[in-house]
Symmetry: C3
Subunit: 143 residues, 3 copies
């Protein structure tokens, strides 16, 4: 069975939710050979995360950040892991709420995303730096 | 390696959490041939989601909806993506909190769910309409 | 394609977030033969969950528990599924927020985790008892 596994380094981005579908797909030109399969996108960090959501309006991504700041407040009084700054512990929690990977079906050589679905990098630190992904695709090639 | 990939359209359901295990399994009769494998259930939308949870009490599913309405309130004052109605932006956030797919081991021709686990469609819109799933199963057939 | 599928029973742990990476890896000695692949760790319960997060500071895991108690309060007045105790319904909700499985790339015979990533058992019940995992690994062996 054919396998494709690739590391991708994303440039540093500001805290917030960032659409990265095109950037990841650009690294996966062999995807077009897969008639059926699955793609797994994984982030090797604990203060940034991945999710699928609306790929059109920047306001949606802004509202994600506004909601998450309310839901997991910087510097909440009950946090004890505070040495790395007020945004550190909230970043860990947000990372687990969103998740460290997304798994997407592959069909006819493409990610079988819905019309409005895009891949988000969720950067939960104020200065998270570059982020490493590992993308793995497995399936069957068209012949 | 055998693959099974199928699109399933779920009928429109009201906002809330709905048990759909039987409906999805009914579309996967070939599952019984897989001695070992994995099943991936994916929703092609950004305002509905999938999760595994308790398959018995309807009150649990009602409490999920009651909790989510508290946690991500309709019409929160900091939302800017409001053109599509007060339930739209919360639906996007809930979809990412719950997740767009579940991945379940397959063993001896069946989903290896725990006794109390069932598959939920989480409908976060008031009128979300029909929802499309893509189910992918890969593994080894028993011989 | 080689497959590895194994059930693991975790001993009962107190409510909270517990690092179990070493315990799970110890059950997967054959992992070293996989040059490329994917590992899926699944929990067969609806009141405990799995996530990847920071593998160093116990304070991080304590803060996860403190946050989750705030976010999904025991005995919230709008819960109706209360027969099994004030920690039961919150446990179900937390389980879905964290998720029932993690999926990790395998590379060169090892889980391709980031430096700081570890696997957490998230025990959401006061007395959850032992917990069953199903670990599935698929991929290609090195030759």
């Amino acid at each position: 069975m054919p396998w494709l596994q690739r590391s991708i380094t994303l440039r540093a981005r500001p805290r917030g939710f960032h659409l990265i579908t095109d950037e990841v797909e650009a690294e996966l030109s062999e995807l077009e050979r897969f008639g059926v399969g699955v793609a797994h996108v994984f982030i090797q960090h604990t203060s940034a995360s991945l999710t699928l959501n609306e790929n059109a309006s920047p306001e949606v991504r802004g509202d994600f950040e506004r909601f998450m700041r309310e839901a997991v407040p910087d510097g909440a009084p009950y946090f004890r892991h505070t040495l790395e700054g007020p945004d550190d512990m909230p970043a860990h929690i947000k990372a687990s709420l969103m998740g460290s990977s997304v798994t997407i079906p592959v069909r006819d050589g493409r990610l079988a995303l819905g019309t409005w679905q895009g891949l988000y990098l969720c950067e939960h630190r104020d200065s998270g730096g570059p982020r490493r992904l590992v993308v793995t695709v497995w399936g069957e090639h068209d012949d």
